[in-house]
Symmetry: C2
C-alpha cells in the first residue's frame, strides 16, 4: 500500500505521518511506500521496509501533481491548503492553493486512471449564518469566507470525480481543532486552544469572549483518527454524498474552563484572564455552534465524548503526560 | 449603460438581445452600447444611437474575457455554457466552458475593478435527489451531474466575488424552459417541450413517460423577464445569498396536455403518441418536481401562473399567433 500525504509538513500532516509510521499499516494493509508532499520539506520519518519520499512543490504549478501521482498511490490524503485568515487576506493565494491546487491534484489522479481512495480535509467554514441550534447533515452551504467557498468547491469536485469513478473520495469537514499545539496566532478562534494550552504551559491566557459562547471541538488526535477511518471506509456504504460533517464535543467556553479545572486544577484555570474583545466576539457570533454529524457517527467516525478527554489528550500528546509546577 | 451578453448566440441570448433592442433601456437607463459574445458570431441587431459589437471567442482562453470587459460594461449577462448532456458526455469540455469560462470572466471583471452588476444563469441541476415534495430556498446542493456541479461552483464564486465587492452578482436558477423553440434534441427533458411544440406545428410528438409526471416550467419569455428583473434588482435587498431559485409553473404532463387541448383544441392534443421509454422515465424520476421560490417571488420575479399561458406564449412568440390547419 502506497500512501501520499499533501500538506505533510503541517500540524495535522505531521501527526498523521507519525501515526502511520507507528501503525505501519493503513486500512489493514502494510504500508510499503510513503510520499510526503508540501511546499517545504517534511521531516523524513523512519519506516522500516518502506520507501519514504519527501517531495517539495506547489500543487498549483503545472506538472507538480502529475509527478506526485505517477507512482499511483493507493490512498491520497489531501491536507494541503492555506488557512481561513490567509485566504481572506490574500484572495489570489487562497484560490490558487485551495481551489487550483486541489483541482490540479484531482485532475492528475483522474489522468493517472487508477481510482485511488482520496481523503480531503474540508471544514465547517462551508456553513454560513444564520444557523439552527444544531446543524443537520443536510444543511445548505452558504460560506461567508473565501476559505469556506474554496472548501465548498473542493467538496463539489470530490463528489463529481467520485460519481464519475475517477477516484473514490471522502471529504471530512473538520470542526475547530482544539487543543492546537504551538503558539497563539491571529486567528479569531485562537483563544479556544489558548485558554487550555497556555495555562497548561504555566502561562497566562486571554479570554476575549463571554463564557457562554458554545462551540464544537475535536482534538488533533481525533482529526488523525477521522483521516485513518476515512481511508478504510467502504465507499458503497457512504453513497453519493461524499462530504461528511465530523463529530466533535460541543461545549461552552465556561465548560472548557471547568474541564481544565477538573483535569489540571484550579491553579491552572486561574491563569485565564478575561479581557472582552468586541471584534472577536462579533466574528465568533457568526460561527456555527453544534452539529448533528449523524451520518459520520453512523459510518463509525468517533470523537471525544467530553472536553475533559480533549484536555487529557493534549497533556498526553504534547506535554509527555506531565504538568508544570506552578 | 453598456451591456455585455455572453452566450449571445444561444436561444436565451438571442431572445434577451431582441428584448433589449425593443426596450432600448435596462434598469431604467438607456442602452448606449451592447457587446454580444459567443463562440460563433451572434446576429447583429439594429439599435439606433448605440454601439453594437459582435465578439467571437472562448472565455476559457487566456485574455478573451479581459478584452471583453475592457470597455467596462455596467451589466454583464453571463449565459454562456454547454448544456447538461454535453457536459456529461464530454467531461473536460464541460469543466472548461462552464467552470473555467465563468471563473475567467469573473476574474477579468475583478481585475477591471468597476464592480458591475453580473447576472449569471444557474440551473435547478444544482439540486440532487432525494427531494422533498416542494424544494425550499434553503435546500442543500448535491448535484448528480457534472453540469450541476459546475453551476454550483459558479454560484459559489458569484457569492464570494459579490461578498468581496468585486462585482454585484445575482445568480438565477432556471427551471426547465418550456416551450423551447426549435428541433427536438437528445436531452431526456426534450419531450416536455416536444409534446406542445410538435403538435402546434402539425407534427406528431412522442410522450415517453406517464402523464402523472410532475415538473416545473417557465417560458423562454419568463426566462428573459427573470434576466431583465435581475439586472435592475437592489443588491442590498437581496442580501448575501445571491443565488435564487426562480419561480415556475408546476404541472403534470397530463396537465400540460389539458392546457394544449384548452388553448389549441383536441385535434392538436391527438398528435401526442404515448410510447413509454423506461430509460427516460428512470432519469426523470430523479429530477426535482416543485420549488417554493419564496425569496425570488418576494424580490419580484414573476413567471406564468398556469401552463395555458405558457402554451399561449409559444403561439404568440414563435408561431406569429397562428395555428396550422390540421
Amino acid at each position: 500500500m502506497r500512501v501520499l500525504i499533501t500538506g505533510a509538513a503541517g500540524m495535522i500532516g505531521r501527526k498523521l505521518t507519525a501515526r502511520l509510521v507507528a501503525d505501519r499499516k493503513l486500512a489493514s494493509k502494510a504500508i510499503t511506500a510513503l510520499d510526503l508532499h508540501d511546499i517545504v520539506p517534511a521531516d523524513r520519518p523512519k519506516l522500516d521496509g518502506a520507501e519514504v519520499k519527501i517531495h517539495t512543490g506547489d500543487l498549483a504549478d503545472e506538472g507538480d501533481a502529475a509527478k506526485l501521482v505517477a507512482a499511483r498511490p493507493d490512498v491520497v490524503f489531501h491536507l494541503a491548503g492555506v488557512v481561513s485568515g490567509e485566504a481572506e487576506a490574500n484572495f489570489e493565494k487562497g484560490y490558487r492553493v485551495n481551489l487550483d491546487g486541489t483541482r490540479m491534484l484531482f485532475e492528475a489522479i483522474r489522468q493517472a486512471g487508477h481510482a485511488p481512495r482520496v481523503v480531503f480535509t474540508s471544514s465547517i467554514a462551508v456553513f454560513g449564518a444564520p444557523f439552527p441550534d444544531v446543524i443537520p447533515d443536510e444543511f445548505h452551504l452558504t460560506p461567508m469566507t473565501s476559505y469556506g467557498t474554496e472548501k465548498m468547491m473542493g467538496e463539489a469536485l470530490l463528489a463529481d470525480y467520485t460519481r464519475r469513478g475517477f477516484f473514490d473520495g471522502i471529504g471530512i469537514r473538520l470542526p475547530t481543532i482544539c487543543v492546537r499545539p504551538g503558539k497563539p496566532n491571529k486567528a479569531a478562534s485562537s483563544f479556544f486552544s489558548g485558554i487550555i494550552r497556555e495555562p497548561l504551559a504555566g502561562q497566562e491566557a486571554i479570554l476575549p469572549v463571554p463564557r457562554t459562547v458554545l462551540h464544537t471541538h475535536a482534538s488533533p488526535r481525533s482529526a488523525v483518527n477521522f483521516l485513518i477511518h476515512a481511508a478504510g471506509l467502504d465507499g458503497e456504504k457512504v453513497g453519493p454524498r461524499r462530504n461528511l460533517t465530523m463529530p466533535g464535543v460541543a461545549v461552552t467556553v465556561g465548560g472548557q474552563i471547568e474541564s481544565l479545572t477538573r483535569v489540571a486544577g484550579e491553579k491552572f484555570a486561574a491563569l485565564i484572564r478575561e479581557e472582552p474583545d468586541p471584534t472577536i466576539w462579533a466574528i465568533v457570533q457568526n460561527w456555527p455552534t453544534q452539529f448533528n454529524a449523524k451520518r459520520a457517527r453512523e459510518l463509525g467516525f468517533r470523537a471525544e465524548d467530553n472536553f475533559d478527554d480533549i484536555v487529557r489528550a493534549h497533556i498526553e500528546d504534547e506535554l509527555g503526560g506531565k504538568l508544570p509546577d506552578l
